[in-house]
Symmetry: C2
Subunit: 239 residues, 2 copies
């Protein structure tokens, strides 16, 4: 029997819950930039935890740039929410709308990355992509090796753009998407899908190799559209 246990034992840490709670207050506008947060004592009381836990939560929010605090005065909501880091709340992603938004964002980046890659790819890039496809062909659909190689293919496309931040952003977004998909756990397995997916990848590679940006864009768009269906994101209206 294949037991399916929860992937992550979603942080039982109280400080995480408190931080998410405050974070939500800010996101939903109940705490406006510049506003002063309740005192640590009050927060501890309202949440029913010790002041210590509240402090850990605040330390976290401070590091994320969402709030700032000064000894003797208090803690305040930061004017520009995201100072130097960009954070995606895991809990928020459980909601369908958020997931769909993130998926769309990933689509935009991947599609344009494919187009840029077609223009700028080097011989080494092509080699790496081909290797990835070969490895994927031998791996069973949905296996760890398959997923890993799939990720590597896309990462190579991103790297082939020559854009230093494309890889960083795309892996970041893709990771979040992948987590959500795994968490929802509604992926089908089939031999046919393997062939279909491989074909999509192959077309992307062909277009990139040919240096045809528009074709690469279309191929990547088709691939992502197919992936969305495979995951169960049907309600997607493209232009």
């Amino acid at each position: 029997m294949t037991l399916k246990l929860d992937k992550v034992n979603r942080g039982p840490h109280l400080s995480t819950l408190v931080a998410s709670s405050i974070s939500r207050e800010i996101a939903q506008g109940r705490l406006m930039p510049g506003d002063q947060l309740p005192t640590e004592q009050q927060l501890a009381q309202t949440f029913g935890v010790s002041r210590n836990v509240v402090r850990e939560a605040i330390a976290r929010l401070r590091s994320e740039g969402r709030i700032w605090s000064q000894q003797g005065r208090g803690a305040f909501v930061a004017d520009q929410p995201n100072a130097t880091t960009l954070t995606i709340d895991y809990e928020a992603l459980q909601q369908a709308a958020a997931f769909q938004s993130l998926f769309e964002l990933r689509g935009i980046l991947e599609v344009e990355a494919a187009a840029l890659a077609a223009k700028r790819r080097t011989g080494d890039d092509l080699m790496t992509m081909k290797d990835a496809l070969v490895t994927m062909r031998d791996a069973p659909y949905g296996s760890v090796m398959w997923l890993k190689t799939d990720l590597e293919f896309h990462k190579t496309v991103a790297a082939a753009t020559g854009n230093l931040y494309m890889v960083q952003f795309l892996t970041f977004v893709s990771e979040r998407v992948r987590e959500s998909i795994l968490a929802s756990g509604n992926q089908q397995r089939s031999e046919d899908l393997a062939a279909v997916t491989l074909g999509e990848h192959q077309r992307i590679l062909d277009a990139i190799e040919a240096g045809d940006g528009d074709k690469a864009r279309d191929a990547m768009r088709a691939h992502l559209h197919g992936a969305a269906n495979r995951v169960g994101l049907a309600g997607e209206q493209s232009e």
Copy 2:
């Protein structure tokens, strides 16, 4: 005298120092992925702080995905460093290649955002954009008010996509770009540029109002191309 003080008043917080210190250990490879950190007691002793401070530092590192901890076992260095946050190093952006990459990334997002906004914008969105253009028209080119309104216009376009993360990502990227431009300080001032820039904005707005995605895409692309020239980023080959 214009005093130029350190941008960030490097948090006097002890927890920040401890977190940075541990973070450095990880970055420099003295703590490898999977390694177990010293116990909180030991860390508190070696750093000469209370265990409470160590815990706040660990809470921060945990939220950054650098380490994970489990009750009864200990704290360990995470395998994949970037779990939930995305960071862009400020120093790295000083290099031209990095800046150009980020500018390109922003372009991709803005252009597609404009196209999506043309399809999905509401009446309120159009109102906000129009207000922004009026305000910008009255503000002197390059003034604080002008920059602020410019930012708001773009943010409204991003919001009009209905994509929950478009605003977040775009403001994040734009902020980094803006910082770099301000730091380099090579922007020209002129009355003509004000009119040109306003015209570009107007064309974007018109396309969005008309619901013409392709036109909005082109208008935004033209605007960014113009902005690149104004900032002195000439070497940009679009397909």
